[in-house]
Symmetry: C2
Subunit: 142 residues, 2 copies
Amino acid sequence: MSLSARKAQHGAPHLTARLRQAGLRPTRQRVELASLLFTGDRHVTAESLAEEAAAAGLKISLATVYNSLHQFTAAGLLRQVVVDAARSYFDTNIGDHQHFFVENENRLIDIPGENIAVSGVPNPPPGTAVERVDVVVRVKRA
Amino acid sequence: MSLSARKAQHGAPHLTARLRQAGLRPTRQRVELASLLFTGDRHVTAESLAEEAAAAGLKISLATVYNSLHQFTAAGLLRQVVVDAARSYFDTNIGDHQHFFVENENRLIDIPGENIAVSGVPNPPPGTAVERVDVVVRVKRA
DNA sequence: CTCATAGTTTAGAATTATTCTAAACTATTG
DNA sequence: CAATAGTTTAGAATAATTCTAAACTATGAG
């Protein structure tokens, strides 16, 4: 193993393994972003994650944050949540669940999948197959 | 009534009435956009509606299309549907219903509200009230 | 370990959807 | 018809996101 590879792994062996299993090279930037993201159930935007990284002293360009969020999503490590026309949210909870969206705070809150159910969905249009059923409960703070 | 007001009303008395009831002055642009929109259940984006207006020979700026879509929405004549991070859709069907979204065609299809039901929604976060429950069934053409 | 290479990162430019600005225009009301 | 409040618009501005091409790095072979 090269010195640089050793450096990237340093302090986060399970993260590099997780990235490798997902088919992604464990680069410094991806490992660092993963270390911020995969610490529980989190909702981030590209901007919020980039700020968080900067605040932690990590040197990661905004373009890389965008790239990584999309790569993580394609690899199934993240889920993209469309609730707001203005920006994209990414959720580290990739299990079966839905969301509250607090409209005047731009904040997402998970609803466990066990609780919620959708019934009566008609057959999808001919020639199409269902990918996912998204429920967004839009709430507003009084 | 002025000549110009008469002109705006020409050929669409019920549309001007509908706009007035919604608290919107029936300007030429709004009446014309309304005449394109309120002809059945439709899904449009600002761009698609602007193109349609242009194709019909109507002189309406893109800014006015954006303004009108938002004013119509605020007035309850339209409903905004958030399904795609890239652009906003507006639905002339303001009744209780949900949507299929064909991901690789960027197309919306209504699901009548009678069919579909969501159960098991937990209490909203303290201090918030539910505005609406949106269901998006994401489908893909094979 | 070292090299070659394929994959990755990045600054900055470019793109896209949308909003803003302020000046010209128009519906409404007295 | 005149005054005024509301509306439209071109064009600039903004914001999120993507693109480009050059510099960098992880990886696997030798």
